[in-house]
């Protein structure tokens, strides 16, 4: 084991030698510079290796030949080794990154850089407080000096502000150290063994506050933002990563000295910093400053996690703190580096990144990592952190952190979307130096690999759960192939996967098979429609398969974490799929924000849930646990956000409308069912372990009103896909209400409707996709009369809308019959009436859909429109065929569904031949079909007999008050078709929920803008903040 002193010695020696070498040759000095950093990294690497290989415990190294209290000593444990390795590695990489810069600028830069690294190393290693002070000063002075590497007005003035702040901090630190010495008689952390109570508190308090200032806690961080904004990218990396890490570690070292009430306050300050800096970040337009806000936020999170994980077992603590630390380290370093490459200040100018594919992917990876998505380390850390906080009942902290995290996601993804999708001109192309790009890519890969490592080794996820990620990677590798080949491969893979999953779950629970059919068979048939893609469609199939495999994993998840992991992977995949749409910026952002909010609710909900017993799938496991009420509510809310329940539905129409034509059907028909699946899981846990308060009664109402409002909103749409989206919302409302009934018949109808909805909504969306493919418009009033051009699509839409509307004899009636029977049986009378109203309103939009597109007047510009491509027709007719079969023989479906539901409730429907009896009524689907055919044929025959000579006329041969129609546009009644209804609804027709969310967004931004005004840019104001902070926190603590 190398003595840690060498780290310091090498650096110091380099500091002296470098000027000499530089005289000889700049190359030589650069080589030495890199050599030193490399040596540091190698040494720390060896330590880490050593600690992992053999459990050496904690090593102590003394200096000057004396042992501890008499001399300064260094302590080296696995923790120190880990942190040292991390920062030295980043130091090395950043050094390489800055190489060109150093080559051009004076030698001082290199020396200062080495000093920074040395200071950080020393700070981490030392156990002596005064020595820590010295290292801290070395660190900050050299950091400030290195800021001047870029000599602009901004960087100089920000450096001066930094100077002032760190000067005050060092005064506090020094005073604190001296007082500690005065009270305890020792400067060595290992030998300070008194309690700092009453007046002696001030000593440790001063040290801690100095560290908090250096850690840039809210609100004493204005100077740091200026520094981040103005310095060179590499330097910002150093400040954000190396500097902060070392100081955070120092804080960790003095933590045992601090009394617990102060620790709690510091923890809150950390969480608050996270929240506030992210809130203020919302308003940022400057990329660097945004990264600064994010960095500060992450530091707050790190501080909070260090403090609040104090009681946990070490491995878990490393998982959490280390997870946050590494996540921040890698993501922030990467982002700062990219900012150095881009050289653009404004967020929206980052579009140039699209000229470099790999850099863009890395950008995405860093953003996802920073937002805490799997498989990156931040995800695991956040999950465990929330869980541990819940165990400690720290609800306030969870709220602060999750809210902050939500804000972070908002601005990060807004940035991401702007970058990936914004207007982009080719001439903005800038050439990126390939070396730096490779470096960044390396970093991104490192972060990704780390996440996978944690996933595989710590949690031991099996192949099935990593499959979504692997499939994404695999298909990315073969992305050069034509879309059709990839599509067929995906189909094949999906078929095998489905079969494999079937063998896995076939004996477990039939409900899994039902949802397996919805998720996988539905996806498979929908996938046929994507075969129409003629171009390469880069990235499409990877994301699609990722989403589909995540659906599969949701089914077989055995623990909360497995479920949540799959859920988040599904969110990523679906978000990126939606983002592929042409104008999907706003839609995908909304989807992301709502999904994340839902995911956080679920996270907390799962945190409250008791541990599962055994290792069966959740659907079985959850049956036996008693979920607390709060958990039920949070989980249900989380799932309902995903299925677009009233109040949180605003993302749904946007996402459906703006996604690519063949993606919308996946989202509507299948993705929404994932929410239903989760909702069902929660409901299953309630069946035998009901909470005191009947929360499902109110969820039932929510579902019912979702159905009604969705139907109304759908009726007032001009955009075909938005109409269908709102229709989906309405149908999901039915399903939610039916599940909420917690009765046998209710669940049978929910299952029935879920399957049915998957089929008819897929068919409808694919049909509309076909129409869009031919007409290039989604506005229904721009179409019309397409029945003559696209008869096959018309028939499938016709059958689908009959199925949606619930008109007998098609299968939709079955679901309606089951639904109303169950509602009346359950005693939910008024709910049933509202649903009946909703289903009557649904006729409005269904008629509007079919009429304005297929009937009425054909437009001139659609004269040469052909039938939709065969790839769109095939899946439609597969679904239509299934609908017809299930309509004629409904018992094929009712029987197994009844069996599924009777696992949980006593069955109260009787199936006798083709008759289905409930306690209220009866229904014979087969006979209905026959009678309907009979009564249809009789008048048809009659008509053919009597009609006389028929002339087939054209669209303008209409009675037009003795005139002739002017043009198809003026003759087609389509635009604002239900204006009178809207008028009748009056104030009820206003988009209040939409207004509410817009208002909330506006409010958050205003708040962010309000708070960031404290950063006036004046160094003295920042000083004042520091003094006030010092006083206020002290009195809060006392």
């Amino acid at each position: 084991m190398v003595n840690p002193l060498y780290l310091i010695i090498i650096s110091l020696m380099a500091g002296f030698v470098l000027p000499l070498l530089d005289r000889v040759n700049r190359k030589l000095s650069l080589a030495t510079f890199i050599g030193v950093l490399l040596a540091n990294t190698v040494i720390t690497g060896f330590w880490m290796h050593g600690f992992i290989q053999a459990d050496l415990g904690t090593l102590s190294f003394s200096t000057a030949g004396f042992t501890a209290p008499l001399s300064i000593n260094f302590q080296l444990g696995i923790l120190e080794a880990f942190v040292l390795l991390a920062i030295n590695l980043i130091g090395l990489l950043t050094g390489i990154y800055l190489l060109k810069k150093f080559n051009e600028s004076p030698l001082a830069g290199m020396i200062l850089f080495i000093m920074v690294v040395m200071g950080a190393n020393g700070l981490i290693l030392t156990r002596d407080l005064f020595n820590a002070f010295v290292f801290m000063e070395i660190l900050s002075i050299s950091t400030i000096a290195i800021i001047t590497l870029k000599r602009t007005n901004e960087s100089l003035s920000s450096g001066f502000k930094y100077m002032l702040a760190s000067g005050i901090a060092s005064i506090f630190f020094l005073l604190g150290v001296v007082f500690i010495y005065f009270f305890s008689g020792s400067l060595n952390l290992d030998f300070i063994n008194i309690n700092f109570t009453d007046y002696r508190l001030i000593a440790v308090y001063m040290v801690a506050i100095a560290l908090l200032i250096e850690l840039k806690m809210f609100p004493v961080n204005g100077w740091a933002l200026d520094v981040y904004e103005s310095t060179d990218a590499g330097v910002a990396t150093i400040i954000s990563v190396i500097n902060s890490t070392a100081i955070a570690f120092m804080f960790y070292k003095i933590m045992p000295l601090l009394p617990s009430n102060f620790l709690y306050i510091f923890g809150i300050i950390g969480a608050l910093t996270y929240l506030m800096s992210n809130l203020m970040g919302l308003k940022q337009e400057n990329a660097r400053r945004l990264l600064g806000y994010s960095s500060i936020g992450q530091m707050g999170l790190l501080l909070a996690s260090i403090i609040f994980t104090a009681g946990l077992e070490p491995v878990l603590r490393i998982m959490i703190v280390g997870g946050f630390f590494l996540n921040h380290l890698i993501a922030k370093t990467g982002l700062f580096w990219i900012s150095g490459l881009i050289k653009k200040e404004k967020l929206k100018d980052w579009r140039v990144i699209r000229s470099n594919k790999s850099l863009m992917i890395m950008f995405g990876i860093f953003i996802f990592a920073l937002s805490g998505f799997p498989p990156f380390a931040g995800f695991w850390a956040k999950w465990e952190f929330v869980k541990s906080l819940l165990a400690g009942q720290n609800i306030l902290i969870i709220a602060l952190i999750l809210l902050g995290s939500l804000f972070e996601v908002i601005y990060m993804f807004r940035w991401f979307i702007q970058t990936v999708k914004g207007e982009y001109k080719e001439d903005e192309l800038s050439i990126m130096p390939s070396g730096k790009v490779i470096l960044t890519t390396l970093l991104g890969t490192l972060g990704f690999g780390l996440g996978i490592l944690i996933m595989k080794n710590y949690y031991g996820f099996n192949f099935l759960f990593t499959l979504p990620i692997l499939s994404l990677l695999f298909i990315y590798l073969i992305d050069f192939l034509p879309a059709k080949i990839k599509g067929i491969m995906s189909l094949g893979g999906l078929a095998y996967y489905g079969y494999y999953l079937y063998t896995l779950v076939q004996f477990e629970n039939p409900i899994q098979i039902l949802f397996g059919v919805i998720f996988l068979v539905g996806s498979g048939v929908n996938l046929i429609s994507t075969l129409n893609r003629s171009e390469i469609s880069k990235g499409f199939y990877g994301l699609l398969m990722m989403m589909i495999f995540s659906f599969g994993s949701l089914l077989i998840a055995r623990s909360y974490l497995e479920f949540f992991l799959s859920w988040e992977l599904m969110t990523i995949a679906s978000f990126l799929l939606i983002l592929r749409g042409k104008n999907a910026q706003k839609a995908s952002l909304m989807y992301m924000i709502f999904s994340i909010a839902g995911a956080y609710l679920m996270m907390v909900g799962f945190g409250f849930a008791p541990e599962l017993i055994g290792s069966s799938a959740l659907i079985t496991g959850l049956t036996y646990v008693q979920l607390p009420l709060i958990s039920i509510i949070l989980l249900a809310l989380g799932f309902m956000i995903k299925s677009g329940v009233l109040g949180v539905h605003v993302w749904l129409p946007e996402a459906h409308a703006e996604a690519e034509a063949d993606v919308s059907s996946f989202i509507s028909a299948i993705l929404l069912k994932a929410g239903i699946w989760g909702f069902l899981l929660v409901a299953i846990s309630v069946v035998w372990n009901a909470p005191q308060f009947d929360v499902y009664y109110w969820m039932g109402w929510l579902g019912v009103f979702t159905a009604l409002v969705g139907a109304f909103l759908a009726s007032f749409q001009e955009d075909a896909k938005r109409l269908l989206a709102y229709s989906s919302m309405s149908q999901v409302g039915y399903i939610i209400a039916a599940i909420s009934m917690l009765s046998h018949l209710g669940w049978v109808s929910a299952f029935y409707l879920s399957l049915n909805h998957m089929m008819f909504k897929s068919a409808l969306f694919i049909a509309i996709a076909g129409v869009y493919y031919r007409t290039h418009t989604r506005n229904m009033y721009e179409m019309g009369g397409l029945i003559k051009k696209m008869p096959l699509s018309f028939i499938s839409v016709l059958i689908s809308i009959i199925a949606v509307s619930g008109v007998p004899p098609l299968s939709g009636f079955g679901s309606k019959w089951l639904m109303y029977s169950s509602f009346i049986e359950r005693g939910w009378y008024l709910q049933a009436a509202v649903l009946f109203f909703a289903s009557a309103v649904s006729f409005l939009y269904l008629y509007r859909l079919i009429h304005t597109i297929f009937l009425g007047q054909a437009k001139y510009e659609h004269k040469d429109v052909k039938e939709a491509p065969v790839w769109f027709i095939i899946p439609q007719y597969i679904f239509i065929g299934a609908i017809m079969v299930l309509s004629t023989f409904p018992n094929l479906l009712i029987k197994p569904l009844s069996a599924m539901a009777s696992q949980y409730f006593n069955s109260n429907i009787v199936i006798d031949g083709y008759n289905v009896y409930s306690s209220y009524g009866h229904w014979n689907g087969n006979l209905i079909m026959l009678v309907t055919m009979g009564v249809f044929i009789v008048p048809l025959f009659f008509l053919i007999l009597f009609i006389g000579k028929i002339t087939k006329v054209k669209q303008f041969n209409i009675v037009y008050a003795a005139e002739r129609p002017e043009s198809p546009q003026t003759t087609h009644v389509a635009h604002n078709m239900y204006a009178h209804y809207r008028k009748a609804l009056g104030g009820w027709g206003k988009p209040r929920i939409w207004d509410f969310w817009h208002g909330s967004a506006e409010w958050a931004h205003t708040m962010g803008d309000f708070f960031r005004r404290i950063y006036s840019g004046n160094g003295q104001t920042y000083l004042l903040h520091i003094i006030l902070f010092f006083v206020v926190v002290f009195f809060l603590g006392v």
Partner: protein, 117 residues
């Protein structure tokens, strides 16, 4: 030595007040210097024991009894380092001030607010 301790604190407060109230960068640096000095005085006075010698082990001090005769040596050692560091900090500040003045010909801290919010 309580008087010097109070003096140190007074100096510290004067320094902080100067830093907060003066607009001139040079004066702010002076304030910092004063505060720093105050801290140094505090350190020294904390280590000082009345009636004892300086902690220099030469012929004047009985080595066997030195613990009872000299003041605590550590604060003195500390203060030496602290002074050095304070000096370095002050020097760097002055360099910054000079650089800033070179660019904007102003010492008022209010003129350096380009970056905010």
């Amino acid at each position: 030595m309580i008087e010097t301790l109070i003096l140190g604190f007074i100096l510290l407060l004067i320094g902080l007040y100067a830093m907060l109230s003066q607009k001139n960068i040079i004066k702010i640096i002076l304030g910092f210097s004063i505060a720093d000095t105050g801290v140094h005085i505090i350190i020294v006075s904390l280590g000082y024991l009345k009636g004892r010698r300086a902690p220099i082990l030469d012929s004047a001090v009985d080595i066997a009894n030195s613990v009872k005769e000299v003041v605590d040596p550590i604060p003195s050692a500390l203060v030496l380092t602290a002074i050095v560091i304070g000096l370095a900090t002050t020097a760097l500040m002055l360099v910054f001030a000079a650089e800033l003045h070179k660019r904007k010909a102003s010492f008022s801290i209010d003129d350096y607010k380009e970056l905010k919010w």
